[in-house]
Subunit: 127 residues, 2 copies
């Protein structure tokens, strides 16, 4: 066993696989893209409209990375007008529940987080 990645919850090696994979899918655009696509496949510009503030470049790069990792599928549709369909893969669908759990956590606990921020800022602003 020449290669020990030390990835056991109490220690994280630099080449820990789950760590590397996490970085590939745990950015904010990925989360939003997956959430939108969960409601059904759609096209590039429709996706761009729904993700307020994303640039063409970032969207393009993020889609490409998700496609490469097998999370989403890209299909060219020969129609009028021509389009490209993005949709979740079966593998990608299995990743969705964990992300939605975080999404729901954020919605449920934002008040507690805001209270913590106020308390923190108060403590750290006194002379």
């Amino acid at each position: 066993m020449p290669h020990d990645t030390h990835c056991n919850g109490s220690r994280f090696s630099v080449d820990c696989p789950s760590r590397l994979l996490f970085d590939q899918v745990a950015d904010k655009w990925s989360m939003m893209i997956m959430t939108v696509l969960n409601g059904g496949g759609t096209r590039f510009n429709d996706l761009k409209r729904r993700l307020e503030g994303v640039s063409q470049k970032s969207l393009s790069m993020t889609l490409k990375r998700l496609e490469r990792n097998g999370i989403i599928a890209r299909t060219v549709v020969a129609s009028t007008p021509p389009g490209v369909l993005y949709e979740m893969t079966p593998l990608g669908l299995t990743l969705l529940p964990p992300f939605q759990a975080i999404y729901l956590w954020a919605n449920s606990n934002m008040d507690a987080v805001e209270a913590a921020r106020v308390a923190y800022d108060k403590d750290h602003s006194e002379s």
Copy 2:
């Protein structure tokens, strides 16, 4: 109703609360810090040793942000040698399961992801 954040799964406003909160906690160091602290509170340098590759600065900033958001607690301990204890808060503990779900997903599906990468690279390298 002057303020509509459009944060309903098919559309993401720039000021969507869950989106803003996600960015605060979904970076790679935060995930690893929370995972380590889940095994019990510990000190700064011990944390630094366990998170291979993290710089003092990044660790310090990430800890501060997590503390501000109420995820972890920082306690100065008057002992010999003097130390600082970091540990999860009750609020932070509720955030852990969703993150561990992603962590477990990464461990379980890395083979499928690797296969997808190989297929993708193969398709995109042909003349």
